[in-house]
């Protein structure tokens, strides 16, 4: 009994487990179907979304003469950049199918209300007559989907040149006789003559200057200088109380002589500078030291209204004579 009673229990257990299996199998079957279905629905709507973009390619005219230009405008609209942006823009070669690209404008972008439009203008021309086709322009989105514009046919018509006027032929070479510009030649000749005269005068001046004996030695020769000093003494400036004038003339005579003999310029030198120059040229001659004392005395007379005694004035003339003789002999001995 136990066994009999046990068997149906086993059977019933088996049938129960079979039922569970069928239910499980059916539920997994339906679950996978639902997934596939939902995937297909999603793909459908996604593809609907992707295919919302539109492309158009238009030309401003489809018939041109050879060399005339046409404008191709490619417009891609309703692009949802967040889902699928343009991954590949069309690329026309510079020369294709008997047509040439003259100019490519940059791609324009217009964004409005969540969509984006791209457009590009291209100027084309053709130099061959016939009917030529602009190929279908392709733009890709998100590396997956491409859209194409329709190809465009362009008729390129030959130009009728039969009615055009003929070009003139080259003219024969005409021989031109050279004209003599007498005014120009005359002015050149005059300039040359004037320049020649100027050069001649300049050369003659310098030659004469070289040949001319030194004026200096005539005016400032030792005899003349001594004579000038004698004349100064006999002028009677001391007696007239014109000490300033007397010493100014005395120093001027001596300075002029020393300037010429020693080839120096003392007009812009102070007494100290002048004395230093003489020292450098002649050295410390006793006569020169006495001359320096005259210079100091002359400064006092000229700039401090100092009136020296008469004998000092006479001595000054004597010392000045000794100085000029010393300078003369110094130069004379140097020449020898």
């Amino acid at each position: 009994m136990r066994n009999m009673s046990q068997k149906p229990r086993v059977r019933s257990q088996k049938s129960r487990s079979d039922g569970v299996f069928v239910i499980r199998h059916l539920s997994s079957f339906f679950r996978s179907r639902i997934l596939v279905f939902s995937f297909l629905v999603f793909s459908f709507f996604s593809s609907l979304n992707l295919f919302s973009q539109k492309i158009s390619a238009t030309v401003d005219r489809d018939k041109i003469l050879i060399g005339e230009q046409i404008e191709l405008k490619v417009l891609v609209t309703d692009i949802d950049k967040s889902n699928a942006d343009v991954s590949h823009w069309f690329d026309l070669p510079d020369s294709f199918n008997h047509m040439e690209i003259v100019k490519r404008f940059p791609i324009d972008t217009i964004s409005a209300e969540g969509t984006t439009n791209y457009s590009q203008k291209i100027i084309l021309t053709s130099f061959d007559s016939g009917v030529w086709q602009i190929p279908a322009i392709t733009v890709s989105f998100a590396e997956k989907i491409s859209i194409n514009a329709l190809p465009i046919s362009i008729s390129v018509l030959p130009v009728d040149v039969s009615n055009l006027k003929e070009y003139h032929d080259f003219k024969e070479i005409i021989e031109v006789k050279p004209e003599t510009d007498w005014l120009f030649l005359g002015s050149i000749a005059a300039s040359v003559i004037v320049l020649g005269i100027i050069m001649f005068l300049v050369i003659r001046y310098f030659r004469r200057r070289k040949l001319k004996p030194k004026q200096v030695s005539k005016i400032f020769g030792i005899k003349e200088v001594l004579q000038q000093l004698d004349d100064l003494e006999t002028k009677g400036l001391i007696e007239k109380q014109q000490h300033k004038l007397f010493f100014t003339e005395l120093i001027t005579i001596c300075k002029n002589f020393s300037d010429e003999q020693l080839n120096i310029y003392s007009a812009n030198k102070t007494t100290d500078e002048y004395m230093l120059m003489l020292k450098n040229k002649v050295g410390n001659e006793p006569a020169q030291i006495r001359y320096f004392q005259i210079l100091r005395l002359a400064d006092a007379v000229k700039f401090a209204k100092f009136i020296p005694p008469n004998n000092e004035c006479t001595d000054a003339v004597f010392d000045a004579k000794t100085f000029v003789q010393t300078i003369y002999h110094f130069q004379f001995s140097k020449k020898d």
């Binding site: 007009a267 812009n268 102070t270 007494t271 500078e273 000229k302 700039f303 401090a304 209204k305």
Partner: protein, 332 residues
């Protein structure tokens, strides 16, 4: 008008009075080796009542010389280091509140001294420079509502560093003109430098400067300096030199015409006359000779001649121009 006997008498007085100049020179020579040129120019400034602008690289004993001069003259010395944050009140003084007396009292600035060393004057901003230069010109200072006379002798010796130009405020031409002399301090020669090394590096104790002249003597000497006789020919020579800086083409210096933007002002003539009188005084003479003019001309004129861009481009300095002028103008 001075007569010949007047000048002779003046000459004798000057020979006697100017002896202190040698004493001063000798006293300064105890501490300053060389730099005779600078010392002489400072003495000219002191005796002519004119301020001196010293230009030289650091370390040429500028400060020491001025300090020693103040000691030798027994004057009050003060040094103002000019910095960008210095204020006019730091120089001239200000009113401060005395809590015990419950009142504002005047606190005098360092300018209240006989010898002022304005070190690196071009480092301070314009307002401080003008505060000092105003005091230099007026010889008085106004703090709050009170005006204070500055004590005589009042001598400002300002220094400028020619090397550093970053962060400096160069003195405007009008203010530089207020300095009687601009002295360019040079380096000592080899022998002088040798002595400096011995004195400083070998640890010799430097001598102290004694008082050798009183401020009273200085003030009396200033009166004598003004009496030094200047002949009309010398005056003409000065005028010719200054006019040659203004109108060089009139003196056969056409090449200089495009190099000078402005020449010496009448202040240049006045200062050249005064400085040459002082130079004559220091050389124990009661009258001016052309040597005095030539000796001082560069120091009086170098900061009073404006150079054009053309001159600067050709590296022509005011010294070169002054040399040219002195070479061209005939000496009386």
């Amino acid at each position: 008008m001075q007569t010949a006997p007047d000048i002779q008498e003046l000459n004798q007085r000057i020979q006697y009075t100017s002896q202190f100049v040698d004493r001063l020179r000798n006293e300064l020579a105890k501490v300053i080796i060389g730099q005779h040129y600078m010392v002489d120019r400072l003495l000219i400034g002191l005796l002519s009542n004119g301020h001196v602008l010293l230009e030289g690289v650091p370390g040429l004993a500028k400060t020491l010389t001025i300090k020693s001069l103040a000691q030798a003259v027994d004057g009050k010395f003060s040094r103002i280091q000019f910095t960008p944050d210095l204020l006019p009140a730091d120089v001239i003084g200000t009113m401060i509140y005395n809590q015990s007396k419950n009142e504002f009292v005047v606190r005098r600035g360092p300018i209240f001294a006989n010898f002022i060393l304005a070190d690196e004057i071009n480092r301070a901003p314009a307002k401080v420079q003008s505060a000092l230069l105003e005091a230099m010109q007026e010889k008085q200072v106004t703090i709050s509502e009170h005006t204070y006379k500055l004590e005589e002798p009042f001598l400002v010796l300002a220094t400028q560093n020619p090397l550093e130009q970053e962060g400096t405020y160069p003195l405007p031409e009008a203010q530089v003109d207020r300095f009687m002399l601009k002295v360019v301090v040079g380096y000592p020669d080899k022998n002088e430098e040798k002595l400096i090394i011995r004195q400083q590096a070998q640890g010799f104790i430097s001598a102290t400067v004694s008082k050798v002249v009183t401020t009273k003597e200085i003030l009396e000497s200033r009166d004598l300096v003004r009496q030094v006789y200047m002949d009309e020919k010398i005056e003409q020579y000065i005028i010719d030199i200054v006019f040659a800086t203004r109108y060089p083409d009139q003196y056969g210096l056409d090449r200089m015409k495009n190099m000078i933007s402005y020449g010496g002002s009448p202040r240049a003539s006045i200062n050249l006359a005064l400085a040459s009188k002082t130079h004559a005084f220091m050389n124990k003479r009661g009258y001016v000779i052309p040597d005095d003019i030539k000796a001082i001309a560069k120091d009086v004129l170098r900061h009073r001649i404006g150079l054009t861009y053309e001159a600067e481009a050709e590296n022509v300095t005011t010294e070169i121009l002054i040399d040219d002028i002195l070479r061209t103008i005939q000496v009386p």
